[in-house]
Amino acid sequence: MSVFEEQDYKKRFDWQLWKKLFRYLKPYKKHLAVLGVVVIILAGIDTVFPLMTKLAVDSYIVPRTFEGLWKFGFLFALLVIVQAVVVWLFIAIAGKIDMGICYDIRKRGFERLQELSFTYYDRTQVGWIMARMTSDISRLGDTIAWGLVDMIWGFTMMLAMAVVMFVLNWKLAFLTLSVVPVLAVLSLYFQKKILKWYRIVRKSNSRITGGFNEGITGAKTTKTLAREQENLREFQAMTSTMYHSSVRAAVLSSMYLPAVLTLGSIGTALALWYGGKGVLAATISYGTLLAFISYTVQFFEPVREIARIFAELQSAQASAERTLSMIETKPDITDSAQVIKTYGTTYSPKKDRWPEMAGNITFRNVSFAYSGGQKVLTQFNLDVKAGETIALVGETGSGKSTIVNLACRFYEPTEGEILIDGVDYRERTLLWLHSNLGYVLQTPHLFSGAIEENIRYGKLEATDKEIEGAARLVNAHNFIMNLEDGYQTDVGEGGGRLSTGEKQLISFARAILADPRIFVLDEATSSIDTESEKIIQEAIEQVLAGRTSFIIAHRLSTIRSADRILVIRDGRVIEEGDHHNLLKQKGYYYKLYTNQFMDEQETRLINA
């Protein structure tokens, strides 16, 4: 449910944060400059239009002449054209900056995500990252591009209007503008309050989403518990909060607008009263009076805008904080400067300097603890010869996965070292190790796209022949050819259109194509039908042949065929040896095996 939740955030204006953010504006300096000019012109024109009315009144209507009216018409048309062009420019440029910034931040974020280690992914939910990369970044682009520009527009326009008003008649200007400070304070007050309520609305909205999520995914369970009425009552509590806070927020907004309008009308009234007196006394022209009346109405639009933007800055700041904190997270596992100098970076590797890998792996006094301090491995030693197949068995949480993750350098040891071909793997690049790594997960992960693309993931420059060869090797070719579009069949999001067994086979083909020295298999617990199991078993044997392999094993057939079995419990190897020796010990493995044997055979027999 927490994925749906809104976070709360700090109140203070964080100048440092914004400075960092403004760095992203650098590539758009020129655009910004043009935009600045455009905005100022726009504000200027907005100020000039009421003056045009004044001009019409004072030069033509009052003197009762239309001589030279065409000039006026021409000028007006010119202004209109400029306005249209400027509006176009304004939207186009602000849009360009908005999209550009979003693109840049997103790109930077994605690059950082590719560098962060698994410890980051272990403690961060995918949903959280998604929210940062999508809605937060959009909000930032919005605020920076449009918000700031609107603010500049507002201030420029207010300034220009104030100047014009003072020039026209400073006393009248002073009088009518006296409402502005009141308006500013009022606006800020209201906007903050309104925003506060909208935040509550958003929160209860997330809760309702969570409620629906639970209601729908838990529907079957709800039926068995006959709990429909209680669930509805609980859900109604959420919708009720939502209702009350939404209405509250809307009522506040509905109060704010009349307040602004009333204040504005006081300005108009003052202009009419004092200006009218001036007209009667012939100290003020009709045109000036009308211009003032227009200005008092126009003046309040930017005040409202600015107040809104100020209020929104707070939530934009929260977005900035979260996004930047993600981008600035330091990856735990990186190559040292020395290593990069010798072997290159991930993006420009110096492959010619890479040593061949044989595949001997040694754990030497390795300890590992999560950042929370929870110790998983203590003084762990293991020697794996090139080409050997190691099966790791044990309960969930025993440390099997940690061992594999350490071997792959997805985690690094907190103490001790891991040697590959006799050299501490930290003296080589991550890319070198990972380029020599094959990895098949318990729940195989495929990318949406064609089967062919998915297999090619193992070796980007592979020919179609190589791809087919890999598929044949793991017995995937036949089922692929039976699909409608063969190798071009779209697997759907997450490979959803294929069965688990089929996904397994494709992920094997992908791994084989990569031709790794080290192979890791995290085996599925779920039983599949005998036919596919046989196929998969053969595929596994193909993949493992001649490579150093780690298998987090569940199926007896794989366990039995391993060169060495390690029984792991609480981060230690409690039994070790091949299948026969371990059975003879009649220890933990024996128990595990007999239970597993019965379970597996029963299921198999029933479904045979």
């Binding site: 994925v3 590719q114 999508t134 995914t217 504005g264 992920s507 199991e533 059975l583 029933i606």
Partner: protein, 615 residues
């Protein structure tokens, strides 16, 4: 279409007063805002200027009464006060409009959310097996929101536009026909332009939205596949892939923004040209004395007021389209028929004697799942069900709690036909633990206590003990107060099953069903749980679906289901003397012993092993 509008109206019911009130309020607010330029006109023309007032007699006599022009001219503030007063009036109406339309639209949303939630809960089990959660949530949340926004903002806005045009036109016509006609020239043009433009731009909106969707799914796939990406060292490739879609999204959205720039640029041009024309003509007419200065001012104000809502029309129409689509998607949910909870009315006590007589059951698509099943169970007995995947085991037990309805034959519980029992009552007496149980995102304690009101702490602990989850829970930092799910601990499959089991044990159901519940629990724990269950004082009639011989052999009655037919039934002793699936399973134990003795030296895969045993 008509049906959708009907649905919309049915949810709007109950707030008719607010909708009506909001529309009237917005009308009155519009009227008050139209009066202000009129007042300014009077002040300019007749108080400051010399034109005689043209208005209904009674107002004129009122002005005469208070002192006529000279009095008003001396007290110009009266005009000012009138403006402020009218604005306050307008503000009040606007406030009422805002409040009422908020109440109306929020009630709408609330009603719709609640009914959706309730409807979904009562949709049959089968529906929930097939359903796509993400899509449903989308409909229940953002689609409802789309409609709500339309009702809250645009619906009333249309009313405002009508009032505006309806009120402005007559005033303008009365004042000057020529000016009115000129003021209206561009209106149809802008209206048409707005509609055509937004219809055209729809596809650009859609493309941008779709690309954003693609961007999210590529991101999502990268994040959930982070292990694969790293293991194949494909960071650079992934960055390129993301960069491509990221750039595409940027460009497509920018294209959309540019289109909007054209729209606002052109419509600004048209509107301002219109205003310019009015000013120009007004200036000419006024300079010739054909209209007054005040009228000139009035027209130039009204023109602006008129154009704004017209420009919004295109937007409103696109949003109306979106709202209708959303409504259609919601309607699809409501069109699904719900379970009939009131099929029977019997609410007598349920003890647990069960009799199946020639029961058959088929899915809606006609596929026969159960064929002619007959057996009977005494209160307190344990029934074990064995059979391959798809043999109908789960369907059989689902019939018991009315999750499915049988088509033929009869099921009697304590002599009462199951169909005649009130469904809620039935489910309150048949406790099913599903194979993949759902835990709610609350604490462990709350999850276990869910089925019973006012549950005591000791009951929870006792149930957890029997379900062999107590010790596990104590190891959590906050024990029973630990939240389950994303915000708390992530439980393994077996742990979830055991919590769900404890949840069922809290309530002493006379009939208990384990739908392969303990499959993810290891054999020993499984045995321990069954032992503890047996010790419970009031023994329930228990159905256990399992493939474990130890579990099966313990039962009073064993049912073997194959292809929807009951192929064997009876006690363990009886079944091991018959040829069949049960005996084959039973002989596995000796196979295991053999395997352990012989070390399985020759067996490469266990598949071969089975084939050999069978032959």
């Amino acid at each position: 279409m008509l049906k959708r509008v009907k649905l919309l109206l049915s949810f709007m019911k109950g707030n008719r007063a607010q909708y009506g009130g909001a529309i009237i309020a917005v009308g009155l607010a519009t009227l008050s805002s139209l009066l202000i330029p009129l007042i300014i006109r009077i002040v300019i023309d007749s108080v400051i200027g010399d034109t005689s007032m043209q208005m209904p007699g009674w107002i004129l006599s009122f002005f005469q009464y208070i002192g006529g022009k000279s009095f008003l001219a001396k007290n110009l503030w009266i005009g000012g006060i009138a403006i402020v007063a009218l604005t306050i009036l307008r503000g009040m109406f606007l406030f009422l409009k805002g409040k009422w339309s908020a109440i109306a639209s929020e009630s709408f949303a609330r009603r719709m959310r609640e009914q959706l939630f309730d409807h979904l809960q009562y949709l049959p089990h089968d529906y929930h097996v097939k359903v796509q959660t993400g899509d449903l949530i989308q409909r229940c949340t953002s689609d409802v929101e789309t409609i709500r926004r339309f009702l809250a903002i645009q619906f009333i806005e249309v009313g405002r536009a009508f009032f505006m045009v309806g009120a402005v036109l007559p005033i303008m016509f009365v004042l000057d026909v020529r000016m009115t006609i000129v003021s209206m020239i561009v209106v149809p043009l802008i209206f048409g332009f707005a509609i055509v433009f937004f219809l055209k731009v729809k596809s650009a909106f859609k493309v941008s939205d779709e690309t954003e969707g693609k961007l999210s799914s590529i991101l999502q796939e990268n994040l959930s596949g982070v292990r694969v990406v790293r293991a194949f060292a494909r960071q650079a490739y992934e960055i390129d892939k993301f960069d491509h879609i990221n750039g595409q999204f940027r460009d497509l959205t920018y294209r959309l923004i540019r289109l909007l720039a054209w729209y606002w640029g052109i419509s600004d041009f048209m509107c301002l040209m219109q205003i310019g024309t009015v000013i120009l003509l007004g200036t000419y007419l006024a300079s010739q004395g054909m209209i007054s200065l005040g009228t000139f001012f009035l027209f130039s104000s009204y023109v602006g007021m008129l154009l704004w809502p017209v420009r919004q029309m295109g937007r409103i129409l696109t949003d109306l389209g979106k709202a209708l689509v959303a409504l259609g998607r919601i309607q699809e949910i409501f069109n699904e028929p719900v379970e009939d909870m009131k099929i029977g009315a019997h609410r007598g006590s349920i003890k647990g004697n069960i009799e199946f007589k020639n029961v058959s059951f088929a899915y809606d698509d006609g596929k026969k799942i159960l064929k002619n099943i007959s057996f009977s169970v005494q209160q307190g007995q344990t029934v074990a069900i064995l059979g391959p995947t798809g043999s109908g085991k789960s369907s059989l037990v689902y019939l018991l709690s009315g999750l499915y309805d049988y088509d033929e034959g009869s099921i009697e519980i304590d002599g009462v036909e199951l169909r005649d029992i009130d469904r809620k009552w039935l489910r309150e007496h048949v406790g099913i633990v599903l194979q993949e149980p759902f835990l709610f995102s609350r604490t462990v304690k709350e999850n276990i206590g869910l089925a019973k009101k006012d549950v005591r702490e000791t009951e929870i602990v006792e149930a957890a003990r029997i379900a062999a989850i107590h010790d596990v829970v104590l190891e959590f930092d906050k024990g029973y107060e630990t939240p389950v799910g994303e915000r708390g601990v992530t439980l393994s499959g077996g742990q979830k099953q055991r919590v769900a089991l404890a949840r069922m044990l809290i309530k002493h159901y006379p009939i208990l069903v384990f739908d392969d519940t303990l499959s993810a629990v290891d054999t020993e724990t499984d045995a321990a749980i069954r032992k503890a269950l047996k010790k419970r004082s009031n023994k329930a009639t228990t159905f256990i679906i399992s493939h474990r011989i130890t579990t099966l052999s313990d039962a009073d009655i064993i049912l073997v289901l194959e292809n929807g037919k009951l192929t064997q039934s009876g006690t363990h002793e009886k079944l091991i003397r018959q040829r069949g699936l049960y005996k084959r399973i039973w002989s596995l134990q000796s196979a295991l012993e053999e395997e352990l003795d012989g070390d399985g030296e020759h067996e490469r895969t266990s598949g071969e092993f089975i084939t050999k045993r069978k032959g």
